[in-house]
């Protein structure tokens, strides 16, 4: 593993561990790994069938990850994108090219735990080959300052029979300003599941757009989001699915909880079909935490605050 054993690496590995990541996976040879702080690649580990190319930019890093045709990566590939300083800007331009019949699972951690004013731009392109599978779970750890400005953008293409699961989770620290923009094009018999879980507090502003274009026959996709907003947080979710071909199946599932008089939520499911054999459905709910759920837990001895935390923890798991 070509690792720069700098203090930075150790520091980011330490934060990675504290935030729930398996830091041993950053060191061993069984796991593919890539560790970035600011615009520096602190370490990477390429495993058989997976290649990582990278180039440092003024404010970030350009990364290309290739998984070869027919290769099934056994262990999760760990990605760690961090900004240890309190202020700055990080731009990550990433490409994931997953070969035909390949399979890979990525576990990404984005760490801005010292942030006072950090901008993080994550601009990704994903191409999943025929009958290939890719899973990408991205967990964010932010400071409590609210000074994180995070803009994850993803454009994806899933080829015939390919499968993609993507989860974005931000439940630790303040969301700050967050603007998620995902759009995926799906070929025939492909499937995609987008899942977003965010806990907004104080004056956090959260915008989410999840969009699926079901272009090939029998393509299926779900765009699911769970957003909890407290204090004066604001959340706006657009779940969008277009059934453009016969026998496509899509479902938008958005659930936003507001807790606190100043919290505001907007949810817009936008569904359309261009083929009479396509079927796209949606469910969207905005509301307070159920009185019955709260009172059940309070009748077991929890305070209202403890009950709210318990319910939210489940909802955002």
């Amino acid at each position: 593993m070509s690792i720069d054993y700098s203090k930075e690496f150790e520091m980011i590995a330490e934060v990675y561990k504290k935030t729930g990541g398996d830091e041993k996976a950053l060191f061993d040879k069984k796991h593919g790994a890539l560790i970035i702080n600011e615009n520096k690649v602190l370490g990477k580990n390429e495993i058989k069938g997976m290649r990582i190319e990278h180039q440092s930019l003024k404010n970030g890093v350009k990364v290309k990850i290739f998984v070869e045709e027919g290769i099934k990566i056994e262990n999760p590939v760990h990605l760690c994108f961090g900004m240890l300083p309190k202020e700055g800007r990080q731009e990550i331009y990433s490409e994931f090219i997953i070969g035909k019949n390949a399979g890979v699972e990525f576990t990404a951690h984005c760490i801005f735990s010292n942030a006072k004013h950090i901008e993080h731009i994550m601009d990704s392109e994903v191409v999943i080959g025929e009958n290939a599978e890719m899973s990408y779970t991205e967990t964010h750890y932010h400071s409590e300052s609210g000074g994180t400005f995070v803009y994850p953008k993803l454009r994806g293409e899933i080829k015939k029979g390919g499968r993609f699961f993507e989860e974005f989770k931000l439940t630790e620290g303040r969301a700050g300003t967050l603007n998620i923009d995902y759009e995926i094009d799906q070929d025939e018999r492909s499937s995609c599941e987008l899942l977003t879980k965010i806990y907004g507090k104080k004056d956090d502003r959260i915008e989410v757009r999840e969009s699926l274009n079901l272009n090939g026959v029998y393509a299926a996709g779900t765009a699911k989001s769970r957003i909890v907003l407290t204090d004066n947080a604001f959340g706006n979710v657009l779940g969008e699915i277009k059934g453009n071909a016969a026998y496509t199946r899509g479902h938008v599932d958005c659930h936003e909880i507001v807790h606190g008089d100043g919290a505001k939520a907007v949810s817009t499911p936008k569904i359309s079909v261009e083929n009479s054999f396509a079927r796209v459905t949606h469910e969207a709910a905005i509301g307070r935490i159920s009185k019955k759920e709260l009172e059940t837990l309070m009748a077991r001895g929890l305070t209202e605050e403890e009950a709210v935390d318990f319910i939210v923890r489940g909802l955002l798991r």
Binding site: E293, M298, A299, R300, G301, F310, L315
Partner: protein
């Protein structure tokens, strides 16, 4: 019954919404390790009574007081009452997205181990601990898990609101056994039901009609009265003195 044996006591409890009076002067005493059934047809105030005793939001007596082990709890919150040892299992239990049965049964410190609580309600821990407490559980499973949750907090008094509604016969048999186990463990039970079969689990039964307890005492006597006069009831609020005699 001497004062210290009284787990729960309601004295002249009145409650209503708007112009409608729902509870019209309830007097009720439940002793330690006793099962007290409250039977009544729909709309007589049974669930409201449960809510008043648990202290749910919006349910405070307009008149009268509630005592728990001699302490006046009328103005206490739900959590404060729960910490004293009172808990409630709803007729239709709540769902909790993303929460496993194990977590749900471990919400309080010093809880009964989830495995033990599940066994007590006749559920195999290996099959249920990692399931999520949501709509994927059947009505009977959810009811039993609710009872396990009640067990887990080791209450002194449990209020069971229609524990037999909407479930199969096998689950009803299991739930009756669970209620008797509460008693064996020293927990008092307020069993609210519209079923005379379930009411018979009680040591004593009170008949609630139009917000008043109109008859109480011997299980056989009260449940037979209920079967004869109340199941086809057409005189709520107009019980004639001769019938009650």
């Amino acid at each position: 019954m001497i004062m210290r044996d009284r787990m729960l006591e309601l004295r002249d409890v009145h409650y209503g919404t708007g112009d409608k009076e729902i509870l019209k002067g309830i007097d009720l005493v439940i002793g330690e390790s006793r099962i007290q059934s409250i039977i009544g047809v729909n709309g007589t105030g049974k669930t409201t009574l449960a809510a008043i005793i648990m202290g749910l939001n919006g349910y405070r007596p307009h008149r009268g007081r509630i005592f728990f082990k001699g302490r006046d709890i009328t103005d206490l919150s739900i959590t404060e009452r729960a910490k004293l040892g009172i808990t409630l299992a709803w007729q239709i239990p709540a769902s909790f997205e993303g929460i496993t049965v194990k977590e749900y049964l471990s919400i309080k410190k010093n809880f009964t181990a989830p495995e033990k609580a599940l066994k007590l309600v006749g559920l195999n821990p290996n099959l249920y601990l990692n399931r999520v407490v949501d709509e994927n559980l059947s009505g009977g499973e959810r009811k039993r898990i609710e009872l396990a949750s009640v067990f887990s907090v080791k209450p002194k008094l449990v209020i069971l609101d229609e524990p037999d509604s909407g479930i199969d016969m096998a689950s009803i048999t299991a739930i009756k056994k669970v209620i008797k186990n509460f008693k064996k463990m020293g927990t008092s039970v307020l069993l609210i039901t519209h079923s005379e079969r379930m009411a018979k689990v009680g040591d004593t039964v009170s008949l609630l009609c139009d917000g008043k307890i109109v008859k109480e005492g011997n299980v056989k006597e009260v449940t037979e009265f209920f079967r004869k006069y109340c199941r086809e009831c057409d005189h709520i609020g107009e019980i004639e003195e001769e019938i009650l005699k």
